[in-house]
């Protein structure tokens, strides 16, 4: 998880497990929704033929589609977490912290 900020020994930070969940879980939910809507409109076998994978089965298409969506949504969730870091923090936390 290189996208998670490395400088987070603050007391008020969420525990890392919860941070991972807060990236993976909302992205899972939105990816599921996106998958349902996308494949209601598009048939994976037809997409497979257009994309040059005529042997793609529907189950395979749904699965690959779902994981692509999940990848995208988790990237955006991770970026949200990343950008939520305060910008006015010193780059090296040792400069400001007695510990």
């Amino acid at each position: 998880m290189s996208t998670l900020p490395a400088t987070q020994s603050d007391k008020n930070q969420l525990p890392v497990v919860q941070q991972i969940i807060s990236v993976m879980w909302p992205s899972f939910l939105t990816a599921s929704l996106a998958t349902i809507i996308f494949f209601t409109v598009f048939d994976p076998t037809e997409l497979g033929i257009i994309g040059g994978f005529p042997e793609l089965t529907r189950m395979g298409g749904y699965t690959i589609g779902f994981f692509c969506f999940w990848l995208l949504t988790s990237i955006s969730c991770a970026l949200t977490c990343y950008f939520r870091r305060p910008t006015n923090k010193p780059i090296n936390p040792n400069n400001s912290k007695p510990s």
Binding site: A6, V17, Q18, T63, P93
Partner: protein, 467 residues
């Protein structure tokens, strides 16, 4: 960033990451609500594992057939084109849940939520193999000997088997379960099916075996926003502070007044049984899933002490303050109004649904051709889907321009229930009537078997520029 700082930080992250949560050893409870919950859970699990095996006509009664892209719900068959009805159904479910929450609080969480139901089952398996809460705790703090690992391996094996069965059943809702079973028995499951069985099984194993109350506290969106639906008339589980405090132990059968205490004997049992590890006596907390374990156990204590039951009970904020609880209130009326509206729209939509889907695609390669007889010809591909539950015979006509002729089958187009047919159509016209290079024409398809089933679909007819 400098190296030492980074490693120091990584270290602190690691300790946070690996710091195990305090495992909650919830005591088993017996009582009215425990029995009710058991009943609800048995029913729900029975439905979950049994439903995909039930058949209706010649297909699985409930099947979201993803490989075939159609949904069977008993006698009804839905297609991706019917997505609208599905979303209506979801809206109805959501609003019903809102209303239910406003009325009954977290009754859903305690009795019906899959997370609770599977956690209970996994805890039950754990108790059968590992013994009660005390024995479990003792074992976990004791030595790591052969007996320890034997018991743990047995538990995880049982959990894993149950997870796999759960995953298998789950996939059975999306891919015909009997075929799935046959391929499972003959070891010929497709790669994707296998993947999803393991994926879902693993999720169940993790959520019900390990995450448990963490899911409710950190992951459940419903738990977070339910407070918006609560009001002073919502059914909650609460400790009666006025009656219970001051707390303190005393001998069995001593009337509270004699020792100058409230009715709570401070036995701490309500805390020991709580699956989310909170103390209900601290007031309503958002972690509380309303499982009523504390109600049962405290009623038991009250019985033993000879005090009236209900020190911890289902109640409402208003009734705790001595006010009257109103069931019918504006919020509920609004929910009822929305529910009635959306449900009637859904029923109306279903009743008037035309079980015929028509798609017309122009031949993309050629705009138009001129035949030897001097006619202008356009080629279309007509796609018909019979969404009715019986086979149909259709007839077809074209209108919009004078003298349109259809070459190809226009009568007795037979289609089985649920079948799809592609029909190439050549439409010709005398160029004299063409007023513009592109005109709108209408295809009309009507069932000869049941004439109320008909559909119109427009298309463009292309020709040479008008002369």
């Amino acid at each position: 960033m400098s190296e030492p700082a980074a490693s120091q930080n990584n270290q602190s992250i690691e300790t946070e990451l690996y710091k195990k949560r305090e495992k909650i050893y919830a005591r088993e409870v017996h009582g009215i609500f425990a029995a009710l919950r058991l009943l609800a859970m048995a029913a729900l699990l029975g439905i979950y594992y049994g439903l995909p095996w039930i058949r209706w006509d010649d297909h699985q009664a409930i099947l979201f057939d993803l490989p075939a892209r159609k949904f069977h719900i008993f006698g009804l068959t839905f297609w991706p084109q019917d997505f609208f009805y599905l979303s209506m159904l979801l809206i109805i479910a959501a609003i019903a849940l809102f209303m239910f929450t406003a009325l009954a609080g977290r009754l859903w969480c305690g009795y019906a939520c899959p997370q609770t139901v599977w956690t209970e089952i996994y805890m039950w398996i754990e108790r059968k193999i590992e013994g009660g809460a005390k024995a479990q705790k003792k074992r976990d703090q004791g030595p790591r000997n052969a007996a320890y690992f034997g018991v743990k391996i047995a538990k995880h094996a049982a959990w894993l088997l149950f997870s796999l069965w759960t995953g298998f059943t789950f996939v059975g809702y999306f891919s015909p379960i009997q075929d799935l079973w046959t391929s499972f028995m003959t070891w010929t499951l497709g790669p994707w099916e296998t993947f999803w069985i393991f994926f879902y099984g693993f999720a169940t194993y993790g959520n019900a075996g390990f995450m448990r109350e963490q899911v409710c506290i950190y992951m459940c969106p419903y738990a977070r926003f339910q407070s918006a639906m609560f009001d002073h008339d919502t059914l909650v589980i609460s400790y009666d502070e006025k009656r219970g405090n001051p707390r303190g132990s005393r001998r069995r059968g001593t009337p509270s007044a004699d020792v100058g205490l409230g009715d709570c004997i401070d036995c701490g049992l309500c805390v020991q049984v709580c699956p989310v590890g909170i103390d209900i006596r601290d007031g309503l907390q958002y972690q509380c899933i309303g499982c009523a374990a504390c109600v049962d156990v405290c009623d038991d204590v009250m019985d033993k002490m000879g005090y009236p039951r209900g020190l911890v009970k289902y109640t409402t904020e208003n009734s705790l303050q001595g006010k009257r609880t109103k069931i019918v209130r504006p919020r509920i009326l609004v929910y009822i109004a929305i529910l009635t509206f959306v449900s009637s729209a859904l029923v109306y939509g279903l009743l008037t649904r035309i079980p015929l889907e028509v798609d017309i695609i122009r031949d993309r390669n050629v705009l138009y051709t001129e035949t030897d007889e001097g006619m202008v010809q356009n080629v279309y591909n007509l796609k018909l889907i019979n969404m009715a539950s019986e086979a149909q015979r259709y007839k077809l006509s074209v209108s919009g321009l004078e003298g349109l002729q259809v070459l190809g089958k226009t009568q007795d187009i037979e289609l089985e229930s649920g079948a799809v047919k592609d029909l190439p159509l050549r439409v010709q016209i005398d160029p004299i009537v063409l007023k513009s290079p592109s005109s709108k024409i209408m295809f009309h398809i009507e069932s000869q078997t049941s004439p109320e089933i008909s559909a119109d679909e427009s298309a463009r007819f292309l020709g040479p520029a008008s002369r």
